[in-house]
């Protein structure tokens, strides 16, 4: 049975060896211990000895070749002419990839990290101070409480309250924010109220078209949120937009739903303040809406017979008349001819 002559590992960090010269010829008889070839490593030129008696055959590498360690370079066979091909050099079990084996987090299974911590903060947009643009120093707990309650830490800065802010400052912040957060029962004529009618139900047909085209089932709420955001963005704002979409008793927050492609909107962090509230009331019997301003402009979509009615309400300070008109027409336009606006 032929014995393999391999390029040996001759040093601790050596991956290949250069054959300087063969000291035996193919077909020549060799004895165990005879020098077969000279191999150069980074350290020196060394002789490689035969490990068995026999004849040198199947020489596969020549002087001047660089051969990886472990490769078979020849055979020592029982006869000088061995027509057999070399046997397979054995199962090459590779150690499992260490990257796959290593656990990815050091956390113990039973610990319960705050979900906010686990998400990569790519889309997170805490309300940044508009006034100075400088960093606000606040403890993690204070930031979390402020975000959860939709409060803006920059109000504390504006009120000249010294940093850093702690949880105990949130009560102060809430008091400072009260006028805006409270849904003030203003007289109806003080808030803006616009309505639009969209003939037919192009929106439902559009959702079905999307399903057929893409094979996915886009969430209608996020599609609609995307349209609303796109309409609002036509006003020229590049800021992140948080759309609070309410439908079927569920409230969802989307961030920039117009930017990722319709129906693929990303959810925003809970506790963030909404830029725009969208109420999809098509499943209800409600037709007309007049509820006054809220914390953000509200777009309501209701059904009136075969048509859809869009209502936009907002406080005067939230949208200028031009912006309000642009928003409701843009939104209505998309709902009536979604494909046209898509293209």
């Amino acid at each position: 049975m032929p014995r393999e002559v391999i390029m040996p590992a001759l040093g601790m960090a050596q991956n290949t060896g250069l054959i300087v010269a063969w000291l035996k010829q193919p077909g020549e008889q060799v004895k165990a211990g005879d020098a077969l070839m000279e191999v150069e490593t980074d350290k020196a030129v060394m002789e490689v000895e035969a490990q068995a008696d026999g004849f040198l055959t199947d020489v596969r590498a020549s002087a001047g070749d660089t051969v990886p360690v472990g490769d078979v370079v020849a055979l020592i066979s029982e006869t000088s002419v061995d027509p057999r091909t070399a046997p397979a050099s054995g199962v090459d079990s590779k150690p499992p990839s260490l990257a796959a084996a290593a656990p990815t987090t050091p956390a113990e299974p039973k610990s319960n990290p705050n979900p906010a911590a686990a998400r990569a903060p790519t889309a997170f947009a805490a309300p940044e101070p508009k006034a100075t643009g400088r960093r606000i120093f606040a403890s993690p707990k204070a930031r979390r409480l402020a975000a959860e309650q939709g409060l803006d830490l920059s109000r504390l800065v504006a009120a000249s309250i010294l940093q850093p802010y702690h949880a105990s400052d949130i009560d102060t912040l809430r008091a400072l924010s009260a006028p805006l957060a409270v849904v003030a029962p203003k007289p109806a004529h003080a808030s803006r109220h616009l309505t639009a009618r969209v003939r037919g139900d192009g929106f439902v047909g559009f959702c079905e078209w999307m399903r057929a085209e893409t094979g996915a089932s886009p969430d209608p709420a996020s599609v609609m949120a995307g349209m609303a955001a796109a309409a609002l963005r036509q006003g020229g704002s590049d800021k992140p937009m948080i759309v609070a979409a309410e439908a079927f008793g569920q409230k969802r927050l989307y961030i920039d739903p117009d930017r990722l492609g319709l129906g693929r909107a990303k959810s925003a962090e809970t506790g963030q303040a909404a830029t725009l509230i969208l109420r999809d009331l098509r499943a209800t019997a409600v037709t007309a809406i007049r509820m006054g301003g809220e914390a953000a402009p509200v777009l309501s979509v209701t059904r009136d017979g075969p048509d859809m009615l869009i209502t936009l309400e907002c406080a005067p300070g939230q949208l200028t008349p031009e912006a309000a008109l642009a928003l409701i027409s843009g939104f209505a336009g998309q709902l009536s001819e979604p494909l046209r606006h898509l293209l």
Binding site: P8, A9, K43, M46, G70, G90, V91, S93, P95, P103
Partner: protein
């Protein structure tokens, strides 16, 4: 096994076979390294077979040994199987240590092998402690502590020999003097006589030709029996030689050891060849019978290597296992 008992031909053939098994194992391990199939390094025992076999053949299965970084010989001699050993060297799940110890930490607890040790002299304490346990618990086990001449540089060895002598522990300190500690001659590393160290503690010492398996075995049987009777500890210096370098990568070693010296030991002092000759001269075995043993051992090794190469690695989940032992309660 009392010292007076003579060995029969079955014993002799087993001794021969065990030595040949060690040599064959090492040849295969060396090949696995050279062909880049074995991770890490290993340390060849080839040339020292008579020491491990001569001593371990005098021990019961429950007697304990501790081993060194050059531990394959002790492991085989104490009853280990090829498959589980090759698997361990390749880091496979079926290895003696589930692949977690490797060559330098190979242990076979079921046969009393408390493990190879990567720290030079590191197992001297463990061996002495095993002897203390045996004495306290009345198990009558004897422990053999294998170590090399290099370990005589470690303070731990002297501390535990002192305590073994004070407490009369059933332990035999077996110093395999292969003339070199890594790349340095023993004369440059150990001042004075090697046995004088143990003698200083009042420990009875012996010197024996480590290449003569019968001489080693006879001495071992006598000392083991006496240790079992409570007459220990003992210190044996066994003069021997390692054929390969300090580790498998130590190939270019003319700078510290001449080829002429190596050749001399290999040709004139080889323990297996010489014992084989003795067996045939004494007509205990024929040349053909010995060759048959050789062939069967080689076949056993070849099969075990193939098995080990094909065997699976441990599952990734095992990396965190065995840091702590599970408590019974």
């Amino acid at each position: 096994m009392s010292s007076a008992q003579k060995l029969n031909s079955e014993d002799y053939l087993r001794i021969y076979r065990q030595m040949f098994r060690i040599r064959t194992f090492e040849d295969n391990a060396n090949q696995l390294y050279l062909s880049a199939k074995m991770p890490g390094l290993t340390h060849m025992y080839s040339g020292q077979e008579a020491v491990a076999v001569g001593i371990c053949e005098a021990l019961e299965d429950s007697d304990k040994i501790t081993s060194t970084h050059r531990g394959h010989g002790h492991c085989v001699a104490k009853g280990a199987e090829f498959k589980a050993m090759f698997c361990e060297l390749l880091g496979k799940a079926d290895g003696y240590c589930r692949g977690k110890g490797g060559s330098m930490h190979i242990a076979d607890q079921a046969h009393g092998n408390l493990g190879a040790n990567a720290i030079v002299g590191g197992s001297a304490g463990i061996a002495t402690g095993a002897a203390l346990s045996a004495k306290r618990l009345g198990t009558k086990d004897v422990t053999v502590c294998f170590f090399g001449d290099g370990a005589l540089g470690q303070g731990l060895l002297y501390e535990v020999m002192n305590m073994a002598a004070l407490w009369k522990l059933p332990v035999i300190y077996a110093c395999e003097n292969n003339l070199y500690g890594e790349y340095t001659k023993v004369e440059e590393m150990a001042a004075g006589a090697l046995t004088a160290r143990a003698a200083a503690f009042g420990i009875e010492t012996h010197v024996v030709d480590g290449q003569d398996v019968l001489a080693v075995n006879q001495l071992a049987r006598e000392l083991v029996a006496r240790a079992r009777r409570g007459e220990g500890p003992f210190f044996i210096q066994l003069d021997t030689y390692r054929y390969h370098g300090h580790h498998v990568g130590d190939i270019n070693r003319e700078y510290y050891r001449s080829k002429a010296e190596e050749t001399l030991w290999k040709t004139e002092r080889d323990p297996i060849t010489n014992f084989g000759s003795w067996l045939t001269v004494e007509k205990i075995a024929t040349e053909d019978e010995l060759k048959a043993i050789d062939r069967s051992v080689r076949a056993e090794a070849e099969a075990a290597v193939a098995y080990a190469l094909a065997a699976p690695y441990p599952d990734a989940a095992e990396v965190r296992m065995h840091v702590y032992a599970e408590n019974a309660a």
